[in-house]
């Protein structure tokens, strides 16, 4: 009966066998928000035969894999997603992995007590939309503009180094580097918590993969993510120990690290992706405009078919 109704209504209930279901490959780099998918794979909630995880070193590599066709989807930030679309590959967001709520922050050296004190200083940031966005928001909050500071482009893996070598006075960084810098005496002047729902990590799938034969696989990936998130909430200790090694933290560091991000559940996802006026669409529009201004996008994204809530679980 379940099978029948499943078939009839294409609700994607497992165990019914599909008509030549095809697997999908998702590229993802190491990041807190994407860890649930990796946990799901380790715990057996994610079937590697249906969804293959392609671990990459960075989001850039994930993007390249997506554009090359080596991956059918990728875990990316929203701005990275827009970049991919601008590059000519139509992708859609099927799930919001996490929302930065403080994990991204502006850490300044001791001595710079207020945002406004940044004037005339060197501020490091990743040359990504995230970095640009954070910097802009921070400057706005500071009441400064770009010309008041010396922007210094530095990638995340070099943040620690730059800090040590005093190449920057402040840096827009994120976990886990952020915690490290704070431990080094840095002061958090601004964080993403002040710009909610802006820095969003999503699972973006190529539009041509969002067809009937791949539908089950995509739904499986999404469902596995939520299963892992669910485990994290229900049994955080167990989840923490299990994620520790892959994340490269100690078990005790895992849970605190997760404090900086929100992992939206199924309901939250529906709110963000679905309905008549999805919340994420507003953020995407703002991001698109920002990226255009910073010349990170050639032109504004039409946002057409950007969000696709159809692959979220129907029962939760």
């Amino acid at each position: 009966m379940t099978c029948l109704s499943g078939l009839a209504l294409a609700s994607g209930l497992p165990g019914c066998g599909g008509l030549s279901d095809r697997p999908v490959i998702v590229a993802l780099n190491r990041w807190l928000g994407y860890e649930p998918l990796c946990l799901a794979l380790r715990e057996g909630w994610l079937d590697p035969g249906r969804v293959g995880l392609l671990e990459t070193a960075s989001a850039t590599e994930s993007m390249r894999a997506l554009l090359d066709g080596r991956a059918d989807g990728a875990a990316l930030t929203l701005d990275e997603t827009l970049k991919v679309r601008a590059a000519g590959l139509p992708v859609s967001v099927v799930m919001v992995c996490d929302i930065s709520a403080g994990a991204d922050m502006l850490v300044a050296r001791a001595g710079i007590r207020r945002l406004s004190d940044l004037k005339g200083r060197t501020v490091g940031f990743e040359a990504s939309a995230l970095g640009a966005l954070m910097l802009e928001e921070a400057l706005r909050a500071a009441g400064l503009n770009k010309t008041d500071i010396t922007p210094f482009s530095v990638s995340i893996d070099k943040h620690r180094q730059a800090w040590k070598h005093r190449q920057v006075d402040a840096v827009v960084t994120y976990e886990p580097v952020a915690s490290q810098l704070l431990a080094d005496g840095g002061i958090k002047l601004f964080d993403s918590g002040q710009v909610p729902n802006t820095i969003v990590d999503v699972l973006a799938m190529r539009s041509d993969v969002l067809d009937f034969s791949h539908a089950r696989a995509v739904r499986h990936a999404v469902a596995a993510h939520f299963m892992a998130v669910n485990h994290l909430y229900r049994n955080p200790y167990d989840a923490a120990y299990r994620m520790a090694e892959h994340l490269g933290f100690s078990a005790a560091e895992v849970l605190p690290a997760f404090k900086g991000i929100i992992l939206p559940d199924e309901r939250d996802n529906y709110r963000l992706l679905g309905g008549a006026a999805p919340e994420l669409l507003r953020s995407a529009g703002k991001l698109s405009r920002l990226m255009l201004e910073n010349r990170l996008l050639a032109r504004e994204d039409s946002l057409a078919a950007l969000l696709n809530p159809d692959y979220l679980p129907k029962d939760f």
Partner: protein, 785 residues
């Protein structure tokens, strides 16, 4: 529970502390002001004394924090603790999470006030999670993975134990099995040391204990870790203990519902601060107490395992069912709805069908009856009935036809004539069929056929007619054979009769009962001269001649009426007035009741016969040459004359006449001339006699004359003279003249004595001789001497 440091010092300290505790308690007793001691019930998974000793420092620490209260530690096993909670013997509870949830559900323990924190490898860090361990003997090769637990004997403290059974069973269940059903459980009871013993002593193959226990026992020297191996080991490098299951939050510290809220709050605060009290924590062997964890994960496990307090199947309200299975239910309802509709439809259709069926059965019965009737009809008909298709294959036939072929209808249908009769007949049948089809109308033939069943023959009048159905489609050629043997015979008889009637040499006349002619044949016309039309409706009396008198016809009619027939001869008159003689037979034709309906008259024209008769008469009585009566007629005439003479009283003279010299003439002139002479003389002599006299020739040249109506003997003398004269005249024939004379002898009748004709003739003959003696050409009268 944390590993205990059981050194001398600790032991002694513990002893002192417990004594102090006791004193404190005793001391407190009479003083009511301080209140009762606060009892903390703690689950002992090692031995109770051991656990009590371990946790004594907590009571001390709490006393330090809350000086105006006394605290007492009490250790229990599962059931004892449950009882204690139920009977409100304790104020606070520290037990494993599963047990906590159970007690909480039953007795309403508070939400956890704090969660136990143990020391990590680095004592600065705390572990707030624990799990279960599965182990077996190291040398036991048959057990490597959790699935190998199937069928093995597993030592557990009890099935209520969370980390000593339930967590491991849950792991097993995740693999799809049911440990309690698929393995043998050996329940050892607390402490968990018993489990290790059981495995080491081979009473069980597998043992289930809490994380840390094995390390504790090893630390106490009671276990050589090399003796055992861990099953389903979880590779979590951050976790300091051996682990076979998932990790779950450590033990909760909870308050009883009756516990004073203030006390609970202060105790909670003291617990959180405990980690500052290094002495205490070190003594107990824990890190401290942390923020209460979320035990939902444990609840989930218990629920999945269906163990208390979730051993009751959760009431799945209808709403839950609806929400969970919305779409399948809708689909099912839809399908059921469709199914019901179809069933309803089916029932309706069924009802309709039943009615239809009934109707059809009736119709069928009617048809059967009709068919039976028709079949009987066709079977009863005395005619042969058959049906062949356009190819001459039999489609059906009736019982009479079966007799013809000598086979049953089943054997005939499907076959052709060629299978039953000779080729010639079959060919002719076929030819007739074709003709009928060509004509597309009835075709009649007569044929003699032999019936195969009994060999009798019949003349069949066969009607062949193409048979078409209501739509006008050609079905086949219908054949109907009617036995006309008798009719034919009757026809032939009739035809024969008619032929006889027409062609008979006899004239046939048929009248009705009143004598009116209703039919005549051609011979009638030939004889009577009247045509059929002239004769019809008239009476045969039109043919009457005068020859018969009334009496004759009266007798005829009388005979007819009486006997029904009459036959005889009569003379009738033809149309042209000519008389003719007929021999006539009249028969009366009677009907079944005996009433005369017709008269049939058969007659033949015997006029020629009559003449012939006369001729015969003549030949019988007259001399052929002269035409004179012969001897026979003479005798007759003489007799008559004699009778007449007697009656009239007259005399009769018999004259015997013999010609003289006749022989000489015969010899001279030949017999033919002699005949001529005789003929001439006969004529002459006859002329000399009277009408009533008779001159007869006896033969040769002998004649006899009978002279009648003589008054006396002398009266005949002139006649005699004339006779002599006539005989003596010469007869000229051609160029010959012949001359003879006659000698006459005469006798008379009646005489004195009776005398018959013969005697008379003899007398006359004698007299003639006398005449001849006397010199011929004279007469001599007989004298009776």
């Amino acid at each position: 529970m944390p590993p205990t440091k059981t050194g001398h010092f600790g032991h002694a300290l513990l002893k002192c502390l417990s004594v102090l505790q006791l004193c404190g308690v005793l001391a407190c007793l009479p003083v009511a002001a301080a209140g009762e001691s606060v009892k903390i019930g703690i689950l002992a998974y090692r031995s109770k004394p051991q656990t009590l000793a371990q946790w004594q420092p907590l009571a001390v620490a709490l006393k330090q924090a809350l000086p105006d209260r006394d605290f007492a530690i009490e250790t229990f096993d599962f059931d004892e603790l449950a009882l204690a909670v139920a009977s409100r013997q304790v104020d606070f509870v520290l037990t494993n999470p599963g047990h906590y949830i159970q007690l909480s559900k039953r007795n309403g323990l508070s939400a956890p006030l704090a969660t136990l924190a143990l020391n990590d490898r680095d004592p600065e860090r705390a572990i707030m999670a624990f799990g279960g361990v599965i182990f077996s003997r190291a040398d036991d090769a048959g057990i490597d993975t959790i699935l190998d637990l199937k069928g093995k004997t597993i030592a557990v403290t009890g099935i209520d134990s969370l980390s000593g059974y339930q967590l491991q069973a849950y792991e097993f269940q995740r693999g799809g099995g049911n440990l309690s059903q698929q393995a043998k459980l050996l329940q050892t009871g607390m402490p968990q040391d018993n489990v290790v013993d059981a495995v080491l002593n081979r009473r069980a193959e597998v043992g289930l204990v809490r994380t840390g226990v094995l390390e504790e026992l090893a630390g106490e020297g009671k276990l050589d870790m090399r003796q055992i191996k861990i099953i389903n080991r979880q590779p979590l490098p951050g976790y300091p203990h051996l682990l076979s299951t998932r990790l779950y939050p450590e033990w909760p510290f909870a308050a009883m519902p009756q516990t004073d809220e203030n006390l609970a709050r202060h105790v909670a605060a003291a617990l959180f601060m405990l980690e500052e009290n290094k002495a205490a924590t070190r003594a107990i062997g824990i890190h401290g107490f942390g923020v209460p964890a979320d035990y939902t994960a444990i609840a989930d496990v218990l629920r999945d395992m269906r163990v208390p307090p979730y051993d009751v199947v959760p009431s799945f309200t209808l709403k839950d069912i609806w929400l969970r299975y919305q779409w399948p239910l809708l689909a099912a309802l839809l399908i059921i709805g469709v199914f019901l509709l179809l069933t309803l439809n089916l029932l309706l259709v069924k009802r309709k069908l039943v009615v239809q069926r009934k109707l059809l059965l009736e119709q069928k019965q009617q048809l059967l009856d009709s068919e039976t009737f028709l079949r009987t009809l066709i079977g009863t008909l005395p005619d042969l009935i058959w049906l062949k298709n356009a190819d001459g294959v039999y489609l059906a036939c009736n019982p009479r036809f079966e007799g013809f072929f000598g086979a049953e209808e089943q054997a005939i249908v499907g076959k052709t004539d060629y299978d039953f009769v000779d080729k010639a007949s079959a060919d002719s049948f076929r030819a007739h069929d074709m003709l009928a089809m060509q004509k597309d109308g009835p075709y009649l033939i007569e044929k003699w056929v032999t019936f195969a069943d009994d060999g009798h023959k019949e003349l069949l009048e066969t009607l062949k007619i193409p048979m078409r159905d209501a739509a006008g489609q050609f079905i086949g050629v219908l054949g109907i054979g009617h036995d006309i043997t008798e009719r034919k015979q009757a026809e032939e008889k009739l035809s024969l009769a008619a032929s006889v009637f027409t062609h008979a040499r006899e004239g046939i006349l048929i009248t009705d009962v009143d004598g009116r002619i209703i039919d005549v044949n051609d011979t009638f016309t030939a004889i009577t001269g009247y045509s059929r039309e002239e004769a019809l409706h008239r009476n045969p009396s039109m043919l009457k001649s005068d020859r018969q008198n009334k009496a004759f016809y009266a007798a005829m009619w009388a005979d007819l009426k009486e006997k029904g027939e009459w036959s005889g001869e009569l003379w009738n008159r033809r149309k042209n007035g000519q008389l003719y003689a007929e021999i006539l037979t009249i028969s009366a034709v009677r009907d079944a009741q005996g009433n005369t309906q017709h008269y049939v008259a058969l007659f033949s024209d015997i006029t020629p016969f009559k003449e012939y008769e006369q001729q015969l008469e003549r030949i019988a009585h007259y001399d052929a040459l002269t035409g004179l009566p012969n001897r026979i007629l003479l005798a007759d005439r003489l007799r008559l004359a004699m009778m007449q003479a007697l009656r009239r009283g007259q005399k009769v003279a018999v004259v015997f006449l013999d010609l003289d010299g006749f022989k000489a003439v015969n010899d001279t002139f030949g017999h033919d001339m002699g005949d001529e002479l005789l003929t001439a003389l006969a004529g002459r002599m006859k002329q000399t006699l009277r009408e009533s006299d008779t001159l007869a020739r006896l033969g040769g040249d002998e004649f006899v004359a009978v002279l009648v109506d003589l008054p006396d003997t002398e009266a005949c003398l002139p006649l005699l003279s004339r006779l002599l004269t006539a005989a003596s005249q010469p007869v000229v024939y051609g160029e010959s003249a012949m001359l003879v004379s006659a000698s006459l002898g005469v006798s008379f009748y009646p005489q004195a004595e009776d005398i018959d004709a013969d005697q008379l003739l003899r007398q006359a003959d004698q007299a003639m001789y006398q005449a001849k003696m006397k010199g011929k050409n004279q007469y001599h009268l007989f004298e009776a001497d």
